[in-house]
């Protein structure tokens, strides 16, 4: 049967309607996520009890992420030095490898790679934890008992993430630069003085190090926000939790990479 003219209209209108529904859905999700962030940033009353929860989260998110961050920092620095050396040696300026390693790590690799690793290591765990709390109705139980789950559960995790990631980024950078020195100086035989002197001549404290930390703070907010929101928003089933965990890693990674471009453009004064 050929579709009548009326049927075609029906399909078109249905298609437009679906686009509209999706757009409304996206807007609603962003709205809920924004309100969720505002509520989660609220520290709550008192100092001592929230602080001990925060300390536990810093341990959970930061201290336990140390091995992966430090090892990858070391290897990223070593690989950068190796690659940079083989490119620069063609121009006879292999002494500039120190400055290349330091600038690329401080500006880009440190904040971005540590945020990606943080999303994979800590973000997914946060989502799964909160999603399971929701599935087993612990969050509802808390509300019934008069405990605000935002202040009790979300806030320490969000602040923990905001504290941890910049610190992890700094350690990543240090390990990366020393890893680069290890390869460049000890393996490839570049004079140690020129490795450090070239670096110190070109790296600026505010322009490179502080801006890297600012980037890292932004990434920390975004990654932790996505992680806890996905957990809170997950369908309370095993399928829903697994999907939310995957979504956390995917969305957080994309957000980090996209935001990195925007931040770099703003910081370099492209706008």
């Amino acid at each position: 049967m050929k579709p009548s003219k009326l049927m075609v209209h029906h399909y078109i209108i249905n298609g437009v309607r679906r686009i509209g529904m999706n757009a409304l859905d996206i807007c609603a999700t962003f709205g809920r996520a924004g309100w969720f962030l505002v509520q989660s940033l609220n520290w709550g009353k008192g100092f001592k009890a929230p602080l001990s929860r925060l300390v536990y989260q810093v341990y959970n998110l930061g201290v336990l992420s140390l091995p992966i961050i430090l090892v990858s920092g070391l290897f990223v620095g070593m690989v950068l030095a190796l690659q940079g050396y083989h490119i620069l040696v063609d121009y006879g300026s292999q002494e500039a490898v120190g400055q290349m390693v330091a600038l690329s790590i401080l500006r880009e690799f440190g904040p971005v790679v540590s945020a990606l690793l943080f999303a994979g290591r800590a973000g997914s765990a946060l989502t799964a934890e909160i999603g399971l709390m929701k599935a087993t109705e612990q969050l509802s139980a808390m509300e019934i008992m008069g405990v605000d789950p935002f202040k009790r559960i979300m806030s320490p995790r969000l602040w923990g993430g905001i504290i941890c990631l910049p610190l992890l980024n700094l350690m990543f950078c240090v390990l990366g630069i020393y890893g680069g020195a290890l390869v460049a100086v000890d393996m490839l035989g570049i004079y140690e003085g020129s490795y450090w002197a070239n670096m110190q001549g070109s790296v600026e404290f505010y322009g490179d190090i502080v801006k890297g930390v600012i980037k890292s703070v932004v990434f920390a907010v975004v990654v932790t926000w996505i992680a806890i929101f996905q957990g809170w928003n997950a369908l309370p089933t095993s399928m829903g939790i697994s999907r939310a965990t995957t979504q956390t890693v995917v969305q957080a990674s994309l957000a980090v990479l996209g935001l990195d471009f925007v931040l770099t453009a703003v910081m370099l004064g492209g706008f």
Partner: protein, 150 residues
């Protein structure tokens, strides 16, 4: 509820993070707060800096003895005035000459000093009279072509 060991590890974590910042600040960016009485200031005028930047090295016989602090334009003579901070332990004679050099083929610009034979030494805020601007490749090529055509 939270064990002591956990709290200690968090404390160590935070301290390590701050230490990392300090290490980066001093080792990577060469930030130094060394007191100003360890250095003295010299000025030099150049016709053309061509790429010399602030914080560039000032070296004597290949040894770095100071850094460029600031670069300004003298609007009367239209020459660049470079302010340098030099290590106090290195006295320079009054007939010291300064020239802008390039480290390697593509390397950074720096100021190379060479000491003369004078008895007197430069004091704080003195000026190096004998300066040589950096060689601009385009001018050099232009001169070469001009001399060939004659």
């Amino acid at each position: 509820m939270i064990s002591k060991r956990l709290e200690i590890s968090v404390g160590v974590f935070v301290i390590a993070g701050i230490l990392a910042l300090v290490v980066l600040a001093f080792n990577a960016s060469g930030l130094n707060f060394t007191d100003k009485d360890q250095r003295y200031i010299l000025y030099a005028r150049f016709e053309n800096l061509s790429g010399l930047s602030e914080r560039a090295k000032v070296s004597l016989s290949g040894v770095t003895i100071g850094r460029v602090v600031s670069i300004e334009l003298d609007t009367e003579d239209y020459v660049a005035v470079v302010k340098m901070a030099i290590d106090k332990n290195v006295p320079l004679t009054t007939d010291t000459s300064a020239s802008i050099l390039t480290a390697g083929l593509l390397g950074e610009k720096y100021i190379g000093l060479s000491v003369g034979a004078d008895e007197e030494t430069l004091m704080n805020a003195d000026e190096i009279e004998d300066t040589q601007s950096s060689i601009v490749l385009e001018e050099l090529i232009g001169q070469f072509l001009f001399s060939r055509s004659e």
